[in-house]
């Protein structure tokens, strides 16, 4: 059986998505996304530009935001706080991974 092949797109800063796409991926409304931009937890690639676009690396975070809003019934302000803290945890986890990678596997 010949299987269909699907091409994948990286969700990283090099792939930009429109406001409408980010809303569709995350399940958040454009008004809610705008509010997250006001709170400073979501930053468009060019905040001064006319049409806002967003780096693909933010998609996963905004999907988490959509789930948290639905599942925990969070208000925008609480959602912004949760995202700030989740962002800090991710940063610390990345730092921890980096430091762990530098530890020798076997003691010499």
């Amino acid at each position: 059986m010949k299987l269909e092949q699907a091409d994948a797109v990286w969700l990283d800063a090099n792939h930009e998505f429109s406001f409408a796409e980010l809303a569709r991926f995350s399940g958040l409304s454009e008004a809610e996304l705008r509010e997250l931009v006001d709170y400073g937890v979501l930053t468009p690639t060019d905040p001064q530009g006319g049409e806002w676009t967003f780096g693909g690396d933010i998609v996963v975070t905004m999907q988490a935001a959509g789930r948290l809003r639905d599942d925990l019934e969070l208000e925008p302000q609480a959602l912004a706080l949760a995202l700030t803290l989740i962002g800090r945890i991710r940063e610390l986890e990345a730092q921890l991974r980096g430091l762990r990678a530098q530890l020798p596997r076997r003691p010499p």
């Binding site: 269909e4 994948a8 948290l68 989740i86 991974r97 530098q102 010499p108």
Partner: protein, 320 residues
């Protein structure tokens, strides 16, 4: 299908009022939500809690659930014969779906009653799966086989479980925890609604030699004391084959020697670096000759690596 005791999942009595149900859900959701919890079983647990809440918070669904009767959790059962008709004309195809899908079908059946010829478009669900790949796959790009079992509506609006298999091409540039989006590879849309997307979460198999941090790689580089002291050219394995690395004289343990652009390729056509972390290794068993040479070095050398101990202690005493 297998019975689940939604009251037990939420830890409430069968006659609990909506406030008690809401409270129990909130407490459990905060504890087990996969975006917040680090519990490895959290995701499965949260899904159960969310399914229970979705059903019990809605009076009609709760009544439908209560009509299923009481069974032991995990026990095989079938809904009573008229059950589907009684509750909002929900069509279901019995055995190949689970309890939560039965209730999801019930809500869509009710919401879109008379949808034959209707125009309500329902987008397909998004899914997320983890693809485990090797470091070499990440460096070169790889094709992985994906098999998903997803609930899908047939043309009569009945819910079925469907196996979907396809190949996904992972372009080079992957690293641990990175995400890919496969457009339209999630659940099928209904009534002309768009198909959902599939999100791939990349997880790298641990490698015997390299440790990964972003697109940088770390490798332990054991050196002999004389290589470290005198300097040497040593062969170091990289993803693209072995290279010669010049170790400068006077290299010490823990020092990071950088091999630029020998790490994992990034999606943006750049590469990470490879860092060789120096370890100084001494032979555990010495030959007669080695022992004699070390003895000679010990007798002839004035090098004291602990010279700073005394100095630092004196400084401490002066300042405290």
């Amino acid at each position: 299908m297998k019975y689940k005791d939604y009251y037990q999942v939420l830890g409430v009595e069968r006659d609990a009022d909506i406030d008690a149900i809401k409270k129990a859900y909130r407490r459990l959701a905060h504890k087990y939500h996969p975006d917040v919890s680090k519990d490895p079983a959290g995701e499965e647990k949260f899904k159960e809690i969310a399914d229970a809440y979705q059903t019990l918070k809605d009076p009609e669904k709760r009544a439908a659930y209560d009509q299923l009767g009481r069974h032991r959790p995990g026990q095989e059962f079938r809904p009573p014969p008229d059950w589907g008709k009684q509750f909002g004309d929900a069509p279901f195809s019995s055995d190949d779906i689970d309890l939560s899908e039965l209730f999801a079908g019930l809500s869509s059946g009710r919401r879109h009653a008379g949808r034959q010829g209707g125009t309500f478009k329902m987008p397909g669900q998004d899914y997320e799966v983890t693809a485990h790949i090797s470091l070499d796959d990440a460096a070169r790009g790889a094709t992985v086989d994906l098999n998903l079992t997803v609930p899908e509506y047939d043309e009569h609006g009945r819910l079925h479980r469907v196996e979907r298999s396809f190949k996904a091409r992972i372009p080079k540039g992957a690293t641990d925890g990175q995400r890919l989006r496969l457009r339209g590879k999630g659940g099928k849309g209904f009534n002309g609604g768009p198909d959902g997307d599939l999100y791939l979460n990349i997880a790298l198999h641990p490698h015997a030699l390299y440790r990964v941090s972003g697109h940088d790689l770390y490798l332990d580089l054991p050196l002999t004391p004389w290589e470290a002291a005198l300097g040497a050219v040593v062969e170091v394995p990289t993803l693209g084959g072995s290279v010669h690395l010049k170790v400068p004289p006077g290299t010490h343990a823990g020092q990071k020697l950088r091999l630029a652009r020998r790490g994992l390729p990034k999606p943006s056509a750049e590469e990470g670096d490879l860092f060789a972390i120096v370890q100084i290794v001494v032979p555990t068993v010495l030959s007669e000759r080695e022992r004699a040479l070390f003895k000679e070095l010990s007798d002839g050398s004035t090098f004291n690596p602990r010279g700073h101990f005394e100095q630092e202690m004196r400084n401490e005493a002066r300042t405290s």
